[in-house]
């Protein structure tokens, strides 16, 4: 099985308090800790496990700037065989559709049976996987939390739906699957693993290498334009308890008693 996994470098929401710039053009990016999008990490782990079972290779690809190379290396330290960085000034500001188009152009240069994306990116819209499948005209399943390889033409997949129930399907290869968290337990990547892949060559492909017209992508080509970031007007909001920890605990206990929270 030749598997391609699309990964994205995003600000790590578990490590940062996200703030919006005063002018609303972006979030405050100084001192942000970045990592690989959580969903994508599960996707790479799943790809590695499938290849361990049935053979083949795992390639990780990202559309991003030069800093995005670090997430490719991290996923290669996990066990992905190859990495490809799709980078070009023309790609900056692309909307989801353009990202899917760029990924498709790269995919067509290879010979992949199976494509994974994350179910959504922390700064995304849960759209790239479904768009990519439609552009490639192959079957798609989103929110996949179970994969079984039936033979070289078919998979059995489970989709996570409401209430923790699971929708089982048979799906023809090649196909695109968007992977939901919890499908596996992604392996730990230590410093040593990262060092091992530190000097591996990662090819960089720009618009002309993959045959993308520069004006079809980037901010200029975006059909859906991001106007600004803002913090919502806080409605009523919570009453924040202030004071020493002891005072707060006492107040809280009174409130809990009143609301039936203590037995």
């Amino acid at each position: 099985m030749e598997i391609l996994v699309c990964v994205k470098r995003v600000p790590d929401t578990a490590e940062n308090e996200i703030e919006v710039r005063k002018d609303g053009t972006d979030i405050v990016r100084d001192d942000l800790v970045y990592s690989v999008n959580e969903w994508d990490n599960y996707a790479v782990e799943e790809a590695i496990q499938i290849v361990e079972k049935v053979g083949g290779s795992v390639t990780v690809v990202t559309v991003g700037d030069e800093d995005s190379e670090e997430v490719l290396r991290r996923e290669m330290a996990m066990g992905a065989d190859n990495g490809v960085l799709l980078s070009d000034p023309a790609f900056v500001g692309s909307d989801g559709k353009a990202i899917a188009g760029i990924l498709k152009a790269e995919i067509e240069k290879g010979n992949y049976n199976l494509i994974f994306t994350g179910a959504q990116a922390d700064d995304g819209a849960g759209q790239v996987g479904g768009m990519l499948a439609a552009m490639m005209d192959v079957p798609y399943a989103s929110l996949v939390n179970h994969i079984e390889v039936l033979d070289d033409k078919k998979l059995k997949v489970g989709r996570e739906i409401e209430g923790g129930n699971q929708e089982m399907h048979e799906i023809d290869l090649p196909c695109v699957l968007s992977i939901q968290t919890g499908i596996n337990e992604p392996r730990y990547v230590g410093i040593r693993g990262i060092r091992k892949v530190a000097s591996v060559e990662i090819p960089v492909h720009g618009a002309s290498d993959i045959g993308i017209a520069a004006d079809a992508v980037g901010a200029g080509g975006a059909k859906v334009k991001l106007v600004d970031y803002f913090m919502p007007e806080l409605g009523e909001g919570a009453e924040m308890l202030e004071g020493s920890t002891e005072e707060i605990v006492d107040k809280l206990i009174e409130l809990l008693k009143a609301k039936g929270g203590l037995k």
Binding site: T13, E17, I18, E19, V20, I27, G96, K97, A119, D122, G124, A125, Q127, V128, G129, G130, A133, A134, M135, P139, Y140, A141, S142, L143, R159, E160, I161, E162, G164, N165, Q166, H169, E170, I171, D172, G182, E185, K223, V224, K225, L226, V227, D228, Y229, F230, M231, P232, G237, A238, M240, L241, I248, V249, D250, L252, L255, L256, G260, G261, L262
Partner: protein
């Protein structure tokens, strides 16, 4: 002018989901009085179509045994066959809408806006509000809808429009579906397993999120719950990490709970988590980030480290 407006009706074997009437309200954001067409797909959906005709000016019925389970891969083909190219189509942003809509937007060549929490329409421009980073930042996005739109609307943000009183017309489009074969075949639903405790039965929940940081720290929450006579529930990352059973997860892909009191400990307050909390409980949030979205929905908030705060609370309660 944008094209004809459609709403995709989600239902469980003929029983409409809440989103069916939420989309009536959402559609009113277009030109006042604009006609909206409900799309009902499935098998034996006559009763549902008649119901929807009380809320929508037009109902397109697509009745076919092959559509008895809503397989998004098949329904995308159906919609492509029946929708005009410049259709504006509203779809609930749930696990079905996420499966269906992005690909539909490509095939029908219209812009896609996902997970909309609010919007306005000015002329041919849609101005929508979305969220990023689990609700920590909001954005305005814009697109031209004169050639159509695929819009996923977040469930629960529009109040269902119960006014009814419309005498809509049901139009049978069942013959227009075209070929229904796809490369993805629905097999069955596997239901979620029951777990060690039933969090839906508890009046008081001590719910932990990623802020608990380590599996060993769950003990700290358990001690607080024991002192309070409460049960420990959690957000999704705790289950993904296999620290607690899936049956303890609160949220759209977990359990729906209706406690009297809900303590959100180190939980940011994503909509998928909040979607599992019903019945207006008294929510107390403890979080070290004062801007965490959970503070917008909680009654009472404490800015603190839960690993320090919970033991203090437990001690005091034990001493009562």
């Amino acid at each position: 002018m944008a094209g004809q407006i459609f709403a995709y009706i989600k239902h469980n074997e003929g029983v409409a989901e809440d989103s069916a009437l939420e989309l009536v309200a959402a559609a009113k954001k277009f030109a006042a009085g604009a006609a909206v067409t409900a799309i009902v797909t499935g098998s034996n959906v006559d009763a549902l179509c008649n119901d929807m005709a009380a809320s929508y000016q037009e109902v397109w019925k697509i009745d076919n045994d092959a559509l008895s389970y809503p397989n998004a891969e098949v329904l995308r083909k159906v919609l492509l066959n029946i929708l005009p190219n410049d259709a504006v189509i509203l779809i609930p942003h749930d696990t079905f809408g996420m499966d269906l809509a992005p690909g539909l937007s490509i095939k029908i060549d219209s812009p896609f806006v996902s997970d909309i929490v609010d919007y306005e329409v000015e002329g041919d421009t849609l101005k929508a509000i979305r969220q990023e980073y689990s609700g920590q930042a909001h954005t305005h996005v814009e697109c031209d809808i004169s050639n159509g739109l695929v819009a996923n609307i977040r469930p629960g943000v529009f109040q269902p429009d119960e006014s009814k009183g419309v005498s809509g017309q049901v139009i049978d489009k069942s013959a227009d579906t075209g070929d229904l074969t796809t490369g993805r075949h629905f097999l069955e639903i596997v239901e979620a397993e029951a777990g060690d405790v039933d969090i839906t039965k508890s009046d008081v929940l001590v719910s932990i999120g990623r802020g608990i940081e380590d599996e060993e720290n769950i003990e700290i929450a358990q001690e607080l719950a024991d002192a309070m006579g409460a049960v420990v529930s959690c957000s999704r990352p705790i289950v993904d990490a296999k620290w607690l059973e899936k049956s303890r997860q609160v949220g759209t892909s977990g359990q729906t709970v209706k406690p009297k009191v809900y303590l959100a400990m180190g939980i940011s307050g994503s909509f998928q988590h909040l979607g599992g909390i019903k019945g207006n409980p008294f929510i107390v949030a403890v979080n070290k980030n004062p801007k965490a979205p959970i503070f917008q929905v909680a009654e009472v908030g404490v800015q603190a480290d839960i690993l320090e705060f919970m033991p203090e609370l437990t001690e005091k309660i034990k001493g009562l």
